[in-house]
Symmetry: C2
């Protein structure tokens, strides 16, 4: 991760340090996690968010509990750690990277059967580091491949935060933009504020501003107007789960952007590591869509603006059908058109 970039998650030798994404950019503070339970709570409460970042955080959560158990027990750790993995897997339902990272931890655990607990703990920590390092490497590769799709002078709309803050570093959608800028292209980014959690207004705006990338904040509702007036050349977003036919779950509000991009014939790109792909589900309608507390919609932080007692629906992801995705940018290559055959080929590659 380059020096200029923010450390979303950081292993301090003893604990996992997570930058608190609930309070950025008003405050820059870290939350230290000493156990899997604390990591699961941090994921649930959105201290850490973004599909790749929560995968990495969960892996460190397993490593943390393995170290704790190694300090207190000499045997019987495997069962306890499998329970830890179940607990972490339940912390958020939509992103598949979480399940993928935990599957890797489970495999390391199974392969370490018979080893002493301290050795198991070391192996699990090594695997967590590997997952984080591979995430950054994937994002850099994805950035290089995706940058070719971004013309010099492009005005690019993004939604939510698919940046360094959503990953172990560099970012997915914002990684593509970063790589295009690093390659000398002039890129102007429009960032949707992304209600209700305001990842765009708080995190994307902050992250790009910090990197000196030209960024303009808009309300989510303004995207249609700008697209219709010809002021946007491409849309690029991340993903929380891509299923076998290419249908993609991402932050709520992504699907309307894909529909608008299609209507106005501008490309709609998804940038995500292949770990985001879930071949066990045939199409988007099978993806579980998390609904969160209505308090996220009735205000922000301590500020309330909706009348007390109002009913709220708060789905936090939606599904974009593959046919609306112009290209899928992964570390294995750029897929266009997006369909089941292509996705299986990418995963084989």
């Amino acid at each position: 991760m380059s020096a200029s970039q923010v450390a979303t998650l950081r292993w301090d030798g003893e604990r996992l340090q997570l930058i608190d994404q609930r309070v950025l950019p008003m405050q820059t503070r870290y939350v230290a996690c000493s156990s899997a339970g604390e990591v699961a709570a941090a994921i649930r409460d959105m201290v850490v968010r973004g599909a790749p970042a929560i995968g990495c955080a969960a892996a460190y959560g397993v490593a943390l509990d393995a170290r704790r158990l190694a300090d207190t027990q000499t045997r019987g750790c495997t069962e306890a750690l499998n329970e830890t993995i179940e607990q972490l897997a339940a912390s958020r339902p939509t992103a598949v990277n979480l399940a993928g990272a935990l599957a890797r931890m489970r495999m390391v655990l199974a392969a370490s059967s018979g080893s002493d607990p301290a050795q198991v703990a070391r192996r699990l920590l090594d695997e967590a580091h590997a997952i984080a390092d591979e995430d950054v490497a994937s994002n850099r590769r994805m950035g290089e491949l995706g940058a070719a799709l971004i013309p010099d002078g492009a005005r690019v709309l993004t939604h939510c935060n698919a940046g360094a803050l959503a990953t172990a570093g560099h970012g997915t959608a914002l990684g593509v933009i970063r790589s295009a800028v690093n390659a000398g292209k002039r890129v102007r980014v429009f960032a949707d504020e992304t209600r209700p959690f305001l990842q765009g207004a708080r995190l994307t705006a902050w992250e790009l501003q910090r990197d000196g990338i030209d960024v303009t904040l808009i309300a989510d509702v303004a995207a249609g107007h700008l697209i219709a007036r010809g002021e946007i050349d491409a849309v690029i977003v991340g993903a929380d789960r891509i299923v076998a036919n290419g249908d993609t779950a991402n932050k709520i509000g992504t699907y309307p952007l894909a529909v608008l991009a299609h209507r106005h014939a501008i490309p709609f790109y998804v940038a995500a590591p292949v770990s985001t792909v879930d071949l066990t589900l045939p199409s988007g309608r099978h993806i579980p869509i998390e609904e969160r507390d209505g308090e996220e919609v009735t205000g922000f932080g301590a500020t309330r603006w909706a009348p007390a007692g109002i009913a709220v629906r708060n789905p936090v992801f939606d599904v974009t059908p593959a046919e609306l995705i112009s290209a899928l940018i992964t570390e294995h290559g750029v897929l266009a058109p997006v369909n089941e055959r292509g996705i299986r080929r990418l995963l084989g590659g």
Copy 2:
């Protein structure tokens, strides 16, 4: 206006009382205006908003200055009042009802040429009362006509606030819903929160909750998901300006809803009085789109969440092309399909 309904604007015998829509529902307070300048400031600052309501408020603004002038001058009032009208007309650029109401005031003023200032002032106040009363009557008629389009059990999505608070009473889009409910239909309303000014979360939610109408608040970004999942049966909104070919300017975020409704084959209705029609413009691309201060997007009220110094675009209206509007509900009748011939027929009727 029924007793249960809120008084958006109220003539207290001396001043115009405006419910302060910047602080609802957290506070219910009125702002008293004693001059046209105060009314223009209230319109600019969004103490009063909603195309029909600002038309009515502006009419009272002219009446207020006419009374002030009558108290201090015995002649030369006409010129001063024409300047007052210009000043009020400039307060917000997109809604045409404002220009329409002021054109009526200008006609009364011209017809009163030679009368003594006190008599001119009385006539102008009578005209302001007439504009407000006609607005309520139009909304009730529109409600009756539009209610026929809302099936029993319908789940209806609305955007912004096209309710009693946007008019002199009853509302346009919410007037249709009110009339359907009053006719015994079960209607479930989904209200978009409507960033950045949060008219949906604050005003529509409050107004419908107060009337005992079933209302569920959602973030703007969630509309696409609910429509795609078949959880919305119709979309209904108000309008700020409808031009000759039927293209319609309304609150930013309306156009994406029309595109989504079209894609999922659910009706998209616009409810607006014929005073919203501007035949001088041939198509939507000629409508001036107001852009407001970026501060509306970087936070809400005293709460800030975007990083300091961030660039912002804040267009507050967008244009929905006529072909995406299933029907236009007016007090003169329901027009479907929406096209220039039909609009001219409505205005003639």
